[in-house]
């Protein structure tokens, strides 16, 4: 670098230079987009107002875990209100709100700002872009579905007098907690992105995502209660019921009496299978959208 003198005095030219370093290619590009999207889901690297909603909703998802730990501290583990198998039932609306608020940011923002042409002219393919968005949003949702459960488990472990015994008794729950958390996060991410990516308009996407989660549950309940055996399958159209059924199936627990799940009385294995099916279809719709969208 040479000192450069000009009319404004002597300044150092720290300007453009050629780059001879490594180029890490497609895989690195996908990881970079994944991390950037994950940070963006919580408004990191953005202005404060972008952080408020995702952070508040995330904190709300932890409240049942913290309440349970508080109860456990006072009543020493006698009362278990929030357990791993029913945790999702308490936070399902919170997680749906997070999807409605954040999914349009994850996939609508680049369409609104027309940034897609910059991504698609870089070292990745259109399918890579969709893949990074899907995995990043799934990861973000794990912070709401899995992380509170982890807090609960660790808290309960530390609260018991005999930690070793608690771990021996409850260790088998860990794979169930992880797999149900993963199934919930994957389905909700895939389905909400499949809806949100269809439009650059934020408001449309938000309303459509929230409608899918909140309107389907009472509709399914009506079908299940008022119609015959085939109407019971309508419960599979409600993501909340589907995911609660999946969780119960994973924990091998029967549904509470007089719930839609109990009345529908479908085989337990059906729920995780349909959950996986929806997740795959949702991801397929996201891939299809980005294969066709003009950039």
């Amino acid at each position: 670098m040479q000192p450069q003198s000009d009319a404004t005095g002597s300044i150092y030219d720290l300007g453009y230079r050629r780059y001879d370093g490594v180029r890490l290619g497609r895989q690195h590009a996908v990881i970079a987009l994944y991390l950037y999207t994950l940070r963006g889901a919580f408004g990191l690297g953005r202005r404060t107002s972008s952080k408020i909603i995702p952070v508040i909703i995330t904190v709300i998802a932890f409240i049942p875990a913290l309440v349970q730990l508080g109860i456990a501290a006072v009543a020493s583990g006698v009362v278990e209100i929030f357990a791993p198998e029913n945790y999702f039932g308490y936070v399902q609306v919170t997680v749906a709100l997070f999807c409605a608020a954040v999914a349009p940011e994850i996939v609508g923002r680049d369409q609104r700002a027309r940034t897609l042409s910059l991504y698609f002219s870089r070292a990745l393919r259109r399918s890579d872009y969709a893949f990074a968005k899907l995995t990043a949003f799934t990861t973000a949702l794990l912070l709401l579905t899995l992380a509170p459960q982890a807090v609960l488990f660790v808290g309960n472990t530390l609260a018991t007098k005999d930690t070793g015994a608690f771990l021996r008794d409850n260790w088998s729950e860990v794979p169930r907690i992880v797999s149900s958390g993963l199934l919930i996060a994957a389905l909700m991410a895939s389905v909400s992105l499949a809806i949100a990516c269809q439009t650059p308009r934020r408001s449309y996407a938000t309303v459509a995502v929230i409608a899918l989660f909140l309107v389907t549950t009472p509709l399914a309940a009506i079908f299940v209660r008022e119609t015959g055996s085939w109407g019971h399958y309508a419960i599979l159209l409600s993501p909340f019921d589907l995911l609660n059924g999946t969780t119960l199936a994973v924990f091998d627990i029967v549904p509470d009496p007089d719930t839609s799940l109990e009345i529908a009385d479908l085989p337990a294995w059906l729920y995780p299978v349909v959950t996986a099916g929806y997740t795959i279809v949702g991801a397929g719709l996201v891939l299809r959208r980005y294969a066709r969208i003009a950039a």
Binding site: Y16, L24, S121, R122
Partner: protein, 314 residues
């Protein structure tokens, strides 16, 4: 300067149709060496379509294309590590700073995180963004946004940059600065540039080579000098009675035509210069100007008939 690459880009029977009726590119065959290349054509001539196909943003209907000897379709991600693109339209998110965005774009082009950060600072300084680079993009002026668009195309040190109407929306001063930046980037750093513009003045100032497409077909591809070469017409300006002067030249058998204060004389052979000089001496008029006319880029877009008529008239 452009070591390692033989051809900058090549297309073979490249065709792009939209639906049954619109043909944007019609069997385009093009081969270009690295340099600063201007891509001109009327609106709808196929400039943007060509650039988008070369970037892998659009699939061609038929035909093939390579950039830096890599197939744009099959070797897309590998190729695009070495390609920069500045679109015509807005493409920047408003809610992040230029630093944050450009560093991210560098990483999506394969640069490691630390290198991306470092080069972002250098590149933003190169395009003339300083302290404001930490502010949100939404607060930027059009000129600043254009600079960020250029920076994101340049940050990963591409071998070739595609610029689509880079001076779009800029005021005259901003236009000058942008063109200067593009020219310096091409000449000082040896980055090949393909710049699409419908403003011939801009192309003339920046580019070394010109590609003219019309109706999706190649009209002409040649060094810019060939387009602005000398014509076989002399422009003469005299102090005195121009009408008498013209008549005297006609009497000598020369083809003469008046154009405002100028007298245009066709060059039939080298003797014309002497004949004009002698006539001026004879008539005692002052010879103010005697120059061989240069072709103007605008002539390209004059209907061929009119051009032919002009030449015949002189």
């Amino acid at each position: 300067m452009y070591a390692g690459f033989v051809a900058l880009l090549a297309t073979r029977d490249l065709t792009k149709r939209y639906g049954a009726h619109v043909t944007a590119l019609d069997g385009l065959n093009l081969e270009l060496e690295p340099g600063i290349i201007g891509l001109v054509g009327a609106n709808g001539a196929g400039k943007s379509t060509l650039i988008k196909i070369l970037l892998g943003l659009l699939p061609p209907t038929s035909g093939s294309a390579t950039v830096l000897d890599l197939d744009v379709d099959r070797q897309g991600p590998e190729l695009r590590q070495f390609v920069g693109y500045m679109p015509e339209h807005d493409c920047l998110p408003g809610d992040v700073s230029a630093t944050e965005f450009v560093a991210h774009m560098a990483q999506v082009n394969g640069l490691p995180r630390s290198a991306a950060r470092e080069r972002t600072a250098e590149t933003l300084r190169h395009v003339g963004l300083f302290e404001e680079r930490y502010r949100e993009i939404r607060g930027y002026s059009t000129g600043m946004k254009q600079r960020v668009k250029l920076a994101q195309a340049l940050v990963h040190d591409p071998r070739v940059m595609f610029l689509d109407e880079p001076t779009n929306g800029l005021d005259p001063a901003g236009r000058d600065e942008m063109l200067d930046l593009v020219r310096r980037t091409g000449t000082e750093f040896g980055i090949a540039i393909v710049m699409a513009s419908h403003l011939l003045g801009e192309i003339e100032r920046v580019c070394e080579h010109l590609v003219v497409i019309d109706g999706g077909r190649l009209l002409r591809s040649a060094p810019i000098g060939d387009f602005t070469g000398q014509t076989q017409v002399l422009a003469v300006e005299v102090e005195g009675d121009a009408a008498v002067f013209s008549r005297r030249l006609e009497a000598l058998g020369l083809r003469v035509k008046a154009e405002g204060r100028l007298i245009l004389v066709g060059i039939q052979d080298g003797g014309v210069f002497d004949q004009i000089r002698d006539t001026a001496v004879d008539l005692g008029v002052g010879l103010v100007r005697l120059e061989q006319r240069r072709q103007n880029l605008e002539d390209l877009f004059r209907p061929a008939v009119e051009e032919g008529a002009d030449a015949a008239a002189v």
